[in-house]
C-alpha cells in the first residue's frame, strides 16, 4: 500500500522527517531513513526549513523514492513564484514523488539569509488550489497540461494556536482546495490537543499529531517562549532538567512515547520531527508500541 492508500485504509499512520544537510553529503540521512523503511509510512523532506539554505527537498525526495521509500515532498511559497512552483511540482512527479505537503513557509528574516527577497507569490491555500488544478490537467491559467500528475496532498495546522479559530477557518479552506491529510505543530499539551481535535473532527480529514523529541529542559523552555502554539508542561521540563547528561535522550524518548500512546486515541497518526535526532526514531517507535 502506498501512502495515499494507507490514508484511506484508516490505519494509524506514522510519518517521520528527513532534514536535508547544508551541503551535499546525503548518505547518512538516507541510511537513517532506510532503517525505518518498514516502520514508517512516509518521510517528509523539509524545504529549506527555518529559512536556512540547504540541499533541496526535491532532490532528496527523489533519492528516497529511488531507495524504495515513500517521500512526502514539502514545498513552500517563500522562495519561488507561481511559475517555479508549478514547474517544480511537475518535476517532482516525473522524479517519482507522489505525496506533497504544502506550506506557506517561514519568513527569510528568521533564517541564515535574512537579506533574501521574500516571494510569497502564492500561499499555502492558493498553492493547494493550483496543485489540485495540475492534478486535473490544467495549469493555474487553465492551460492544458500534456500528461497530468497525480499527487496526494497534505497541509499543516497549528493546534495550539491562540486564538485557534483562525487556524480552523484556514484548515477548512485548505480541505476545500484539496488537502487530504494534515500534520500538526509539535504537541505536548494533550488537553489542548484534544480540544482542537474535537473541533477539527467535523472535517473528516486524517490528522497526524506532531511529535518533537525533547533534547533538554532549555529546548523546552525556548519553545515555550518562542514557538507559537507550543506549550511543554512543567512536569516534562522537570524530567528533562533532572536527567543526567547521558540520559537526556532516554528521557526525551520516554516523554515522546508517552505522548504518542495517548495520541493514539485522539487522532489518526503521528508525525515525528526528529530535528537531527533521526537515529533515535526507531527507539521512540519501539517505546511507544508502534514498532
Amino acid at each position: 500500500m502506498n501512502f495515499s492508500e494507507k490514508l484511506k485504509s484508516g490505519k494509524f499512520l506514522i510519518t517521520s522527517e528527513v532534514g536535508p544537510p547544508k551541503g551535499i553529503n546525503i548518505d547518512k540521512s538516507l541510511d537513517e531513513a532506510e532503517l525505518l523503511k518498514e516502520k514508517v509510512d512516509g518521510f517528509n523532506v523539509t524545504d529549506l526549513q527555518s529559512s536556512v539554505m540547504r540541499l533541496g527537498s526535491l532532490a532528496v525526495c527523489h533519492l528516497l523514492a529511488k531507495r524504495g521509500l515513500e517521500p512526502i515532498f514539502q514545498i513552500i511559497c517563500r522562495d519561488r513564484n507561481r511559475l517555479a512552483l508549478q514547474s517544480d511540482l511537475l518535476s517532482a512527479y516525473v522524479l517519482g514523488i507522489r505525496n506533497v505537503l504544502i506550506l506557506t513557509g517561514d519568513h527569510p528574516v528568521l533564517g541564515d539569509h535574512p537579506e533574501a527577497k521574500p516571494v510569497f507569490d502564492l500561499d499555502s491555500v492558493s498553492l493547494l488550489k493550483v496543485t489540485s488544478g495540475l492534478i486535473e490537467g490544467k495549469d493555474m491559467k487553465g492551460n492544458d497540461l500534456d500528461g497530468k500528475p497525480d499527487f496526494c496532498l497534505g497541509a499543516v495546522v497549528n493546534p495550539g494556536a491562540d486564538p485557534l479559530e483562525p487556524q480552523l477557518v484556514k484548515m477548512e479552506k485548505k480541505i476545500e482546495v484539496g488537502a487530504r491529510f494534515f500534520q500538526t505543530q509539535a504537541v505536548y499539551d494533550l488537553k489542548k490537543f484534544e480540544e482542537f481535535m474535537k473541533k477539527a473532527e467535523q472535517f473528516g480529514v486524517p490528522i497526524l499529531g506532531g511529535i518533537v523529541i525533547l533534547k533538554s529542559s532549555g529546548m523546552a523552555r525556548y519553545m515555550n517562549e518562542k514557538v507559537a502554539g507550543v506549550s511543554v508542561p512543567e512536569k516534562y521540563i522537570k524530567m528533562m532538567a533532572e536527567a543526567k547528561k547521558g540520559e537526556r535522550a532516554k528521557v526525551g524518548i520516554q516523554i515522546g512515547a508517552e505522548l504518542i500512546r495517548d495520541m493514539k486515541d485522539l487522532c489518526q497518526g503521528v508525525h515525528i520531527m526528529p530535528l537531527g535526532w533521526e537515529r533515535y526514531v526507531p527507539e521512540l517507535l519501539k517505546a511507544s508500541g508502534l514498532d
Binding site: L110, F120, V125, A161, V169, K170, V177, A228
Partner: protein
Amino acid sequence: MLAVQIKPEEEILPKISGKKLFIFVCLGCQEVYFPREDVERFINNLREEIVGKALLDYLCNREFVGEYVKGYSKQIERANVILVFSCGVGVQVVSSLLEDRVVYTGCDTLYLNGFQGLTSQEFNCNQCGECYLNYTGGICPITNCPKSLLDGACGGAKNGKCEVDPEADCAWILIYKKLEKIGKLDILKKILSPRDHSKIITESLSREEIER
C-alpha cells in the same frame, strides 16, 4: 501623484445591496487622478438609502477625520455600511475609527507615489490596483503582514504578536477580531490569493502608462 479608480460595480453592489449607507468621499488629492465624476455618478445611480455623506480633504489625516466622525455620529449610527471613496490609506483610517462598523471601499488604489509620507504614518497602501480591504475588515494584510498573506494567519503569532516583528500585532488576528466584531466572519471563507501582479503599476508600468 495619486491614481485611484472606482471598483467594478459587481464587486461593490452585492455588498451594499439594500443597506443604509453613509458615504465618505476624499477630495484631498482629487486634483490629480481621483475619479470624482465617476464617484458622483456612481453615488447618484445607487438605489440604496444614503443616510449621510461627508466630502472632506485628506481622509488620511486620522485626527481630522476623527472630528468628522464625531460630527456625523448620528447619521453614521443609522447606517449599516460605511462606504469610502479614497485611496487605501483613507479607508484604513475610517475603519480604525469605526471599529465596530462595516466599512467598505469603493476604490482600487493604483499609484500614490509622492503622497506617501505626507499622510498618516499609521497606515500604508501598497497600491495593489485591486484593493482587498473589503474582505479584511478594513485592515490591510498586504502592508501589515510581513508575508502579505491573503488567506489568513500563518499560525506563527505568539501572544497575538508577529513572529517576524514581535513588536507588531499579527494583522490576521486583528482582521479576525474585527470581522468577528462586525459579524462578518463568513468573509474569511473566500480564497483571496493569488494577487494579480500585472495590476500593480509600481511594479510593472511606467508613469506615462499610468497617466494614459
